[in-house]
Amino acid sequence: MATATKKKLVQWGPAEVKAALLEKYPPKVGRKRAKQIMINEALQNDTPELTANVRTIPGIITMRGCTYAGCKGVIMGPTRDIVNLVHGPIGCSFYAWLTRRNQTDPGPDGENYMNYCFSTDMQEQDIIFGGEKKLAQAIQEAYDLFHPKSIAVFATCPVGLIGDDIHTVSKNMKEKFGDCNVYAFSCEGYKGVSQSAGHHIANNQVFRHLVGQNDEVKPGKYKINLLGEYNIGGDGFEIDRIFKKCGITCISTFSGNSTYDQFASSHTAPWVKVNFIGAKATAKSLRKIAEYFGEKDLIDTVEKVIAEEMPEVEAALAEITPRTENKTVMMFVGGSRAHHYKELFDELKMKTISAGYEFGHEDDYEGRQVLPNIKLDADSRNIEELEVEADETRFKPRKSDKEMKALDKAGYKFKQYDGLAADMDKGTLIIDDLNQYEAEKLVELMKPDLFCAGIKEKYSIQKLGVPMKQLHSYDSGGPYAGFQGAINFYKEIDRLVNSKVWGFMKAPWQKNPQLSGSFNWE
């Protein structure tokens, strides 16, 4: 198998690397993978050039997880005051139990079920005779024990197959209790092609059952929602710190450090497309929020905060960059994560030579302009699309069309995303759904200084002598969001790429195996 030594780099062109990745596959597999490996031209096409969000190939060791993982594990997992009850055999709930490093702050008396793992632990007789009664009883027992404000039910694979109607069971229990919102997610692992479908299913049900449940107007002058933040390693805490300093009120976070009530109230504030990974990205995002509200006091406060925060960031960069400059990195993670972390590596003057997503869609690679031209396949069609209409009484556009157009003209793209490809250098390799075999081959051929993916990939890469950083759950580190997070990240990357340990892989007698006569003791 592959050996990565630090001898002279063999210069492989991207076309040669691509050919080498495909070489060993059976022809059919090779043809399919060829469409998911793109030599970047950084063009802004309307038609997707790269195939993404398609089925994983049977037998090929994939990095991907399932729909249940995306729904329960990722989206709903970080919400602390909902009892997340998994309907299925024990494993699914067990594996999603505290393994994603979502932090939360319930205070001394707040509700917090995140440290608990709830399951109906379906047995053979439940599979044969149906599990609805057991589910209803489990919901009752959870209610009797904890009296939570909300219980969420998650389906696992066999539930869909045997046809348990988890939605009706949930609805009946909700009506029975009166003071506890019970609802269910049909997030069976076999739906869709990856975790991504689970994110979608989770969001649909959050909007259907939670958003809009609380109309109470929360205090705060500049109120926003933050979507896609999971408080891994405390990212959300750092973003909250910055918001607080700026005078911005975060009504809800989907879903780091979140509560039921945050979701329920989230319709009282807007969203804009931002990114808090990277110090410059954070500054840019804060300015974008300030411009959206367009009030001078906020614009001034944001500038003041940036001016306060940046010197420490710049000092850290000045110290660390000489040790990271021109080092190379590869990133294969998430559905937009790889792109976000590229910002931090840019700040460290490191080169991203190959990147991709585990479960991204074409628009995550090539920008939202390709959205109308993405072909829906059977797997995507099976995932419900929620039709959202403006609520007659509660929909309040905060900006008129005219105002939005004026802002747009002034260069503020609040809902635009150009994708990863536009940000990657020409000739770099963009690879969707990278698998273990290709990862190993890439490292062997391109010898990066750092590789980023998830826990399953970590140790096979490190065995090759290349440091590996988990960007799903950050290994043990974080926060990496915001200004302080950026500094943490610079230090972490410095530690990884400059660790002495990579020099210890060979013993002296392996480095210099020749014997040069017997040694005379003096």
């Binding site: 059976p26 060791i61 994939t62 997880g65 024990i90 024990l145 066999p158 065995k463």
Partner: protein, 462 residues
């Protein structure tokens, strides 16, 4: 408080499991299969692509525990497979696996999904062989591991039984003893080989994850590392003079299979944790091999007895809560009782009334009430602890939430251990392993004493 909603009052639950003390079968099958040399555990996940999640979860959990690469593939079945069965995807997977990874063995296990739709693995294997999808000298083995029955321990046992199914007796005895170690650490498997080597018994140990899940960092990645039981060894198990199965839950089925099919006699022993279980293991080896036990082993035993007697004052009467898997808990309970400690709350998530009966026998002379439950959970264990506090908790990493809330000294032992290192490298089986367990137990008990003693009572010599 981390587990702030756990009430002291215990109410009966019939449907809701909270904080499980088990996980599902396939992960056990995957761990067992990693103990075959050159093996790629193949997680057979029927239905649609999303169901690759099982394989992802099992690989992640094993990786977090062993801190080593865990390679396993999945069938990523299409939705059509749920209607028409998963055969086509399995055949495609077999072809891809042999082309791209070329393992010696593909060890296929099922999941709740393939079991629910009723895929017939033996038939699919036959078809793969008939269609020439299995190259010369390559093997497919399979185990049925429905997640809705038993636990991870059952899945382990089922895959080990499938390994025993590879036996091809030649009629000529090989002079070896089969040892089935059960789901123990790679370091434990290594230690069992060291012990049998010292005694001079030739063995076939299966599965054997030493050298697979405790490998070195050398700048080289081997998808199929040096370790593991070879196919030749597995085929030869039918020619062995006998089988020692360590642990009724993990290992007995495979041993009985070899006995039933190939008349290889077997003894079912407890896992050799602690003094007495190790005594019985060594004695069984002595009897089977007809050798006398070397002085080195006698000496190791004596060192363990010595340490127990030296530190007995800190162990005597201490109450312990235990959570883990049946075979480990039985041996640990006996060990604790043998040191005059009091294991009073004992929970496994794995079902089996035999477990409760065995624990009750082991603790019957302890002179106090013992709470024991099979198919129990850690929520119940925590409630028991709230009702009757203990001096020590022994269990997997999830116990740290109870240990912190209740401020109780705690030793990590079992699966999974996600937050401490060493278990892969330092065994807890055998007499040496007993010394390590004791060192860990004493360490936390005496750290607590040093923390809690007043300054006037604080002592230099303990």
């Amino acid at each position: 408080m981390l587990l702030r909603h756990t009430p002291t009052e215990i109410t009966e639950r019939t449907a809701l499991t909270i904080n499980p003390a088990k996980t599902c079968q396939p992960i056990g099958a995957m761990y067992a299969a990693l103990g075959i040399h050159g093996c790629l555990p193949h997680s057979c996940l029927p239905h649609s692509h999303g169901s690759q999640g099982c394989c992802a979860y099992h690989r992640s959990a094993l990786t977090r525990h062993y801190k080593e690469p865990v390679s396993a593939s999945t069938s990523s079945f299409t939705e059509g497979a749920s209607v028409f069965g998963g055969q086509a995807n399995m055949l495609q997977a077999i072809n891809n696996i042999f082309t791209v990874y070329n393992p010696e063995v593909i060890a296929i296990h099922t999941t709740c999904l393939s079991e629910t739709i009723g895929d017939d693995l033996p038939q699919i294997k036959k078809k793969a062989a008939a269609e020439g999808k299995v190259p010369e000298g390559r093997y497919l083995i399979s185990a049925s591991t429905p997640s809705y029955a038993g636990s991870h321990v059952t899945g382990f046992s089922n895959m080990v039984k499938a390994m025993a199914g590879m036996a091809e007796p030649t009629g000529k005895k090989n002079g070896k003893v089969n040892i089935i170690p059960g789901w123990v650490e790679p370091s434990d498997m290594e230690e069992i080989k060291r012990i049998t080597g010292m005694i001079g018994v030739k063995t076939i140990l299966f599965p054997d994850t030493s050298g697979v899940l405790n490998g070195p960092l050398s700048g080289e990645y081997k998808m199929f590392p040096e370790g593991g039981t070879t196919v030749a060894e597995l085929q030869s198990t039918g020619d062995s003079k006998g089988t020692l199965a360590l642990g009724e839950w993990c290992s007995a089925d495979a041993a009985r299979e070899l006995d039933k099919k190939h008349k290889v006699p077997c003894s079912i022993l407890d896992m050799p944790f602690g003094l007495m279980a190790t005594d019985r293991f060594i004695d069984a080896l002595r009897t089977i091999a007809g050798v006398s036990i070397p002085d080195e082993i006698v000496n190791e035993r004596g060192q363990l007895v010595d340490m127990i007697s030296d530190m007995h004052q800190y162990l005597y009467g201490k109450k312990v809560a235990l959570v883990g898997d049946p075979d480990q808990l039985i041996a640990m309970t006996e060990f604790l009782v043998s040191m005059d400690m009091k294991p009073i709350h004992i929970v496994t998530g794995t079902p089996g009334k035999k477990f409760e009966k065995r624990i009750k026998e082991l603790t019957k002379d302890m002179g106090c009430k013992v709470n024991v439950k099979a198919q129990g959970d850690m929520f119940l264990l925590h409630q028991w602890i709230k009702n009757e506090p203990v001096d020590l908790i022994i269990g997997n990493t999830y116990c740290k939430y109870i240990a912190r809330d209740e401020d109780i000294p705690y030793v990590r032992w079992g699966f999974p251990i996600l937050d401490r290192q060493g278990h892969q490298y330092f065994p807890t089986v055998g007499y040496k392993g007993g010394l390590r367990l004791l060192e860990k137990i004493l360490g936390v008990l005496l750290d607590r004493k040093d923390r809690d003693d007043s300054e006037s009572k604080f002592e230099l010599v303990l």
